[in-house]
Amino acid sequence: MARNRKEVEIVNEANENAIANKETEGLSQGQIVFRRFIRHRAAMISVIFLFSLIAIVYTSLDWRLGNKEKPFVIPGWWKYHFEDMPELRYADCPGGTVGCPTIDAVPFFDGDGMSLGEHPFGQDDIGRDYLSLVMRGAQRSILVMFIIGIIAATLGTVIGAISGYFRGWVDGVLMRLVDFIITVPVIIIGSVIGFHYGNKGAAFLALLLGIFSWTGLSRLVRGEFLTLREREFVDAARVAGAGNRRIIFKHILPNAVGVIIVSVTLLMSGAILTETALSYLGFGVVAPDVSLGLLISTYQDAFTTRPWLFWYPGLFIIAIALCINFIGDGLRDAFDPRQRRRLSRKDKANARKLESRAEVA
C-alpha cells in the first residue's frame, strides 16, 4: 500500500512538472492556432499540394511580355506556349481520333515505363498543345479566385464590421443594400458583366465579380460584431478612451477573424466554380485567352470521342477547389477553442509507457 502511494506521487509529480512547464511557455493566440493547424493532416497536405500546384502552373509557360512582334521572354519549363500551333498528330490514336494524349503513366507493366511524350495531355482541334492550354487556364482560374477572395474579404469585413458596430440607420442602409444584391443571382450578374466587359481580361472580370460576392461574408461579420460589441472588454476599451476605429479594428476584429477566414476560403473555392460556370456559359473569359471553364465548355461535344479534353481541366478544377476547402476546414478547426483532439491509440500507448516508467522509477 505504501509503495503504491509512492508510485502515485511520482506520477503526479511528473504530471505537475509537465503542466507547470507548459504554463511558463506562454503561447500567443496566433501560435496556438498555428499549432492546431499544423496538426490538421488534411489541411497541411492541401497547403503543400496547393502551393506546389501554383508553383508548377505559373512556371510552366513562357511569359511573353511587351509588344507582340518582339516580346521579352521569360522561359517556362514547358516547350510549348498556349498560342503555339504545332502540327496535329494523326497517328496511333484509339478509334480514329486525333491529338490523343501521349502521357504514359503506367510504370513497367506495359513494357516501356513512364514518359510524357510530345503532347502529354493531347492536342485540341487545331493542334494547340493541350497541356499548355490547361496550364494557362489554371493560371487564369487561380488569379480570378484570389482577386475575388481578396476583394470580397475586404469589402465584406469592413461593411459587416461597420453595420454591426454602429447599428441604427447605418446598419439599416447597408443591410438593405446586401438584401438587394443577394436577391439577384450571382450567375446573372456575372453573365451581364461578362457580356459587356469579357473582352477586358480575366482580372477585370474577377474585380467586378468580387464587388458582388461580399454579401454573405458581411452578414456573418455583422452577426459576430453584434455579439462581440456587447462584451465587457469593449466597454473597458471605451472607458480607456479608445475611439470607434480603434475598437473596431484593434479590439473586435481580431476576435472575429475565425469566421472571416473560414468564410473567405469557402468563398474562394466558390469563386473558382463561378468563373468556371460563367466561362461554360460563354460569359467569362473569352477566346483567345483560356480558362478551365472555357476549355470544358468548348470541348463538351467531344466528351464521347475525346474524353481527355474534358478530364484534365476538370481534374485541375476539382484539385484546386478541394485544396481550398480542406484548408478552410483546417482553419475552422484551428480557430475553434472548443475543438478537442480525440485520444488516439498512439497517445494511449504513450501514456501507458509513461506510467510504467514512473512505476519502475
Binding site: I19, G26, A236, A237, A351
Partner: protein, 547 residues
C-alpha cells in the same frame, strides 16, 4: 447503521491533457446515507465537480476513472450504458448550477418534467401531468397549474432552480447531487432554495451530495463535510468537527477566508473628507433603457441620489435586477441618464457627448464583474493595461512598458506576465489585471462592479486585501457594487441599499448593518449565510417564526 445510498472507494478521475494523464480527483473515499447531506468543499479546480460527474459517468471523453462507485449496492463504474441510463434520473438525480442553461428553453417546464417521468415509468400523459403538477407544487412554485405551461424564460431565477429541482425529484431519487445549486442566485432566494432542499430531504428521505465553495451554504445544509484541494481529500469529518475543530491548515484557511458579517474593524474616514467637493454626485438621476421595437422602455433606476467623497468607499448593495450595475455604468458615462444631474469631479456630465466625456475618463476607472469577458482575449494583458495610458498620450514605447510593469507589480503580479494572454491566467489573476487597468491613470473614482462574484472565497479574500491596500496608498474614491453584504462590510465606509431601481436606505456602515431601519435591508442581512452551523440554525428558526 443501514447500507449507504452511495459508497465511493478509491475513486480516481484523470484527464488526458496534452500528452499526460492529469489527475483531477485522487483516491476519494466517502459514503452518503439516506436522509443525510455530504458536502464537498473546495476551490474551483479542486476536482469537486469532476467527482460528482464521475459518479454517474458523465465526464468528457478524455477522462478515465478507476476505483469503485456503488449506488444502493450496485457498481456504477464500468456498468453498461443501459444500466447507467436507468440509474440516472431514477436513482441519482442532478441539480446543476445554471438553471437557465440546464433547462431546455424551447419546451415548457411541465413538458420537461413529464418527459423525465414517462422515460422512467410506464405512465399515461394525463397521469404524468398530474404528477408533474404535484411536483411543481411541492417545490413551491406559485400557481402550479399555470406554471406547468410556462417556458423557462418566463420564470425568475429562483423559480427556474425550483423547476430544476422538481424535475430531478420526479422519480424520487435515492441520491440527489447538487452542484453549486445556489451560486447563481441572490442571497434571499438562496435561503429559500436551501430551506426547500432541507424540507425535501426530510420528506423524501433522500441522500444529498452537495458541492459548493460557499461555507455559509455548507453550514446551513451539511451533516458531513469533505474538504478537497488539488484533487486530494484534505479533511473529512462531521460538520461540527470541520467548523469548530478543523485539523488541516487548508481547512482553517478556507474558513478564515469567508467574510463574516460585522466582524471586521471599523474603517475610519478622515472627517474632513465629507466637507470637500464630492467626486461623484447623483441628484434625482433616472436611467432608462429606451424602447426597442415592441419592447417598451424600461426604467432601471429612478430618482437616485448618491454622493461619493474623496477617499471614501461606498458599498452599493441589492439583489440582481435592482439596478446597481446600471448606476455604476452611468457613473462613468457608459450609459446615458434620462433625467436628473450627474457630476464627476464638479463637471456636469448629465448629457455629455462622447467628446466631452473624454477628459472625464482620466479621472475614472472601472473593474468589471466577469474577468473572463472584460479582457480582450486576443491582446496580451500588458497591452490591455497600457491602453488607457497610451490613449491618454502619457507614455509610449519603453516608458509605457515600464509603467505597465510597475502597475503589474502594484497588483502583485510578476512583471513577466506582461506578455501573457488572458486565457493563461486564473480568474483571480485576471481580476488583478482588471484592477491594474482601472488604476492605470490613477483615477479619483473607481467603480468596482461585483469584482469578486466570479472568484473563490480564498481568492476573494486576497483580492479584497489588495484592493484595501491600494486604496490606502492611492486614496481613490470607490463605488463598490456587490450583492454580498459580508464583502461590502469589509470594505465600505458607507452603504447604500437598492431595491427595484430605488434607493432604499443609505448610511454609515454600522448604521446599516446593526441598526437597519428598512425592512428590506434587514431581510438582506438575515439572508447572508454564516459559516457557523449553530448560528445558521438559530437564524433559520427565526426566519420560520417570522413567516
Amino acid at each position: 447503521m443501514s447500507e449507504p445510498v452511495l459508497q465511493v472507494r478509491d475513486f480516481t478521475v484523470e484527464f488526458w491533457v496534452d500528452g499526460v494523464w492529469y489527475p483531477a480527483a485522487i483516491k476519494m473515499n466517502f459514503d452518503v446515507h439516506a436522509g443525510k447531506t455530504l458536502a464537498i468543499v473546495g476551490e474551483s479546480g479542486s476536482g469537486k465537480s469532476t467527482t460528482a460527474m464521475g459518479i454517474m459517468n458523465l465526464l468528457a471523453s478524455n477522462a478515465r476513472t478507476s476505483g469503485s462507485v456503488k449506488v444502493k449496492g450496485q457498481e456504477m463504474l464500468g456498468a453498461s450504458k443501459s444500466v447507467l441510463r436507468k440509474a440516472r434520473g431514477k436513482e441519482v438525480a442532478y441539480i446543476f448550477q445554471e438553471p437557465m442553461t440546464a433547462l431546455n428553453p424551447v419546451y415548457t417546464i411541465g413538458f420537461q418534467i413529464v418527459e423525465t417521468l414517462r422515460t422512467h415509468f410506464d405512465m399515461g400523459p394525463n397521469q404524468a401531468r398530474e404528477r408533474a403538477i404535484e411536483l411543481i407544487s411541492m417545490v413551491e412554485i406559485p400557481d402550479p397549474e399555470r406554471s406547468f405551461d410556462k417556458y423557462p424564460h418566463q420564470l425568475s431565477g429562483g423559480q427556474r432552480q425550483r423547476a430544476m429541482i422538481a424535475q430531478s425529484l420526479a422519480c424520487d431519487p435515492g441520491l440527489l447531487i447538487a452542484d453549486e445549486p445556489t451560486t447563481a442566485l441572490d442571497v434571499t432566494i438562496q435561503a429559500e432554495i436551501l430551506d426547500l432542499m432541507r424540507g425535501l430531504r426530510t420528506k423524501l428521505n433522500s441522500a444529498i451530495l452537495l458541492i459548493t465553495h460557499d461555507m455559509g451554504v455548507v453550514a446551513d445544509m451539511a451533516d458531513e463535510i469533505l474538504v478537497m484541494k488539488d484533487g486530494n481529500t484534505v479533511e473529512h469529518g462531521t460538520s461540527d468537527q470541520i467548523f469548530n475543530r478543523p485539523q488541516h491548515p487548508y481547512s482553517k484557511e478556507l474558513l478564515a477566508a469567508v467574510p463574516k458579517l460585522g466582524s471586521s474593524a471599523k474603517r475610519s474616514l478622515d472627517p474632513k473628507a465629507r466637507e470637500q467637493m464630492p467626486v461623484m454626485k447623483m441628484e434625482n438621476v433616472t436611467i432608462a433603457y429606451p424602447k426597442r421595437g415592441r419592447v417598451p422602455e424600461f426604467v432601471a433606476v429612478r430618482d437616485f441620489n448618491l454622493e461619493i467623497f474623496p477617499g471614501e468607499i461606498v458599498g452599493l448593495v441589492g439583489e440582481s435586477g435592482s439596478g446597481k450595475t446600471t448606476v455604476g455604468r452611468a457613473a462613468i458615462g457608459l450609459l446615458p441618464i434620462k433625467s436628473g444631474k450627474l457630476e464627476i469631479m464638479g463637471n456636469d456630465i448629465s448629457h455629455a457627448s462622447w467628446k466631452e466625456l473624454f477628459p472625464i475618463r482620466r479621472h475614472t476607472g472601472i473593474v468589471f464583474q466577469d474577468p473572463a469577458s472584460s479582457l480582450n482575449p486576443r491582446l496580451p494583458i500588458g497591452e490591455s493595461i497600457g491602453e488607457p495610458i497610451l490613449l491618454a498620450g502619457l507614455a509610449k514605447g519603453d516608458e509605457l512598458n515600464r509603467k505597465v510593469e510597475d502597475l503589474l507589480e502594484q497588483v502583485e503580479l510578476p512583471r513577466s506576465y506582461r506578455n501573457r494572454f488572458p486565457h493563461e491566467l486564473s480568474g483571480g489573476q485576471r481580476q488583478r489585471v482588471g484592477i491594474a487597468r482601472a488604476l492605470a491613470l490613477t483615477p479619483d473614482l473607481l467603480i468596482a462592479d461585483e469584482p469578486t462574484s466570479a472568484l473563490d472565497v480564498s481568492v476573494q479574500a486576497r483580492f479584497l486585501d489588495l484592493l484595501l491596500d491600494l486604496q490606502d496608498k492611492l486614496k481613490f474614491a470607490c463605488l463598490f457594487i456587490s450583492h454580498d453584504l459580508a464583502v461590502v462590510d469589509i470594505l465600505a465606509h458607507r452603504i447604500a441599499v437598492m431595491q427595484n431601481g430605488l434607493l432604499v436606505e443609505e448610511g454609515d456602515r454600522d448604521d446599516i448593518l446593526k441598526r437597519a431601519k428598512h425592512e428590506y435591508t434587514r431581510k438582506l442581512i438575515a439572508a447572508v449565510p454564516v459559516p457557523d452551523p449553530e448560528e445558521q440554525r438559530k437564524r433559520r428558526e427565526a426566519r420560520l417564526a417570522s413567516k
